[in-house]
Symmetry: C2
Subunit: 105 residues, 2 copies
DNA sequence: ACTTTACTTGGTGGTTTCGCCAAGTATCAA
DNA sequence: TTGATACTTGGCGAAACCACCAAGTAAAGT
């Protein structure tokens, strides 16, 4: 069945939440487990408010969950499937050449 | 191993190429096989120049291939992995609720 | 109550993206 | 070679995005 326009729009909103270097870096880091905002700030190296806005955006898109414990707010991946997602991305943007890795295309 | 900033930037560039409703719609349509620009124009419902620019962007990002045959230029997916990619996206943005489908999370 | 720490929200200016129109290129047919 | 079709490229205004600063909120310690 062909995808409808509304389906594509909904999916694109999720993809957009990952389509920024800092946001993707955050998501990749969270694959190893939850982190608080201050740790992610150090990772990204941007202003705290900037990181916070990235995190809110990703949470609103459904990519992240957040939980407050004491003074800290811990963010975690909403879904463990990010690895498959990135495997596809890396096939599309190989370091060199075109889809030469095993099992690709 | 943790992802580096340059890795995230390279990946984000690919993801960005799919992070737009019209571009994603195009990619989804091409899962069923190649199409020429004029067919994709009808699918998207935008100006021909707009569609052409979306296609160029996706090709430059490595998502699409293009081949000229006669007057037409046929675009096709560069990688068959898009299905896995979208499966993950749909888990992140379920129509309702949170990751309730089988095999998710 | 006051301070500190951790984070969010509002605002702002600079950059990027987006979609259309107009003009250009390339291929094929007559 | 003239014309038609298929697509690309340049340019422009409108909208969205991004990163910082400043100010606000919330929990915990003193």
């Amino acid at each position: 069945m062909p995808a409808s326009k509304t389906t594509s729009t909904r999916r694109a909103a999720v993809i957009k939440a990952l389509a920024h270097p800092s946001r993707l870096l955050i998501a990749e880091a969270l694959m190893d487990g939850e982190m608080c905002v201050c740790d992610l700030k150090d990772l990204v190296g941007a202003d705290l408010s900037t990181v916070s806005k990235h995190l809110s955006l990703m949470r609103d898109a459904g990519v992240l969950n957040s939980e407050k414990r004491g003074l800290n707010i811990y963010y975690s991946l909403a879904c463990a499937c990010l690895g498959d997602f990135l495997r596809c991305v890396d096939q599309l943007a190989p370091a060199k050449g075109k889809c030469t890795s095993k099992g690709c295309c």
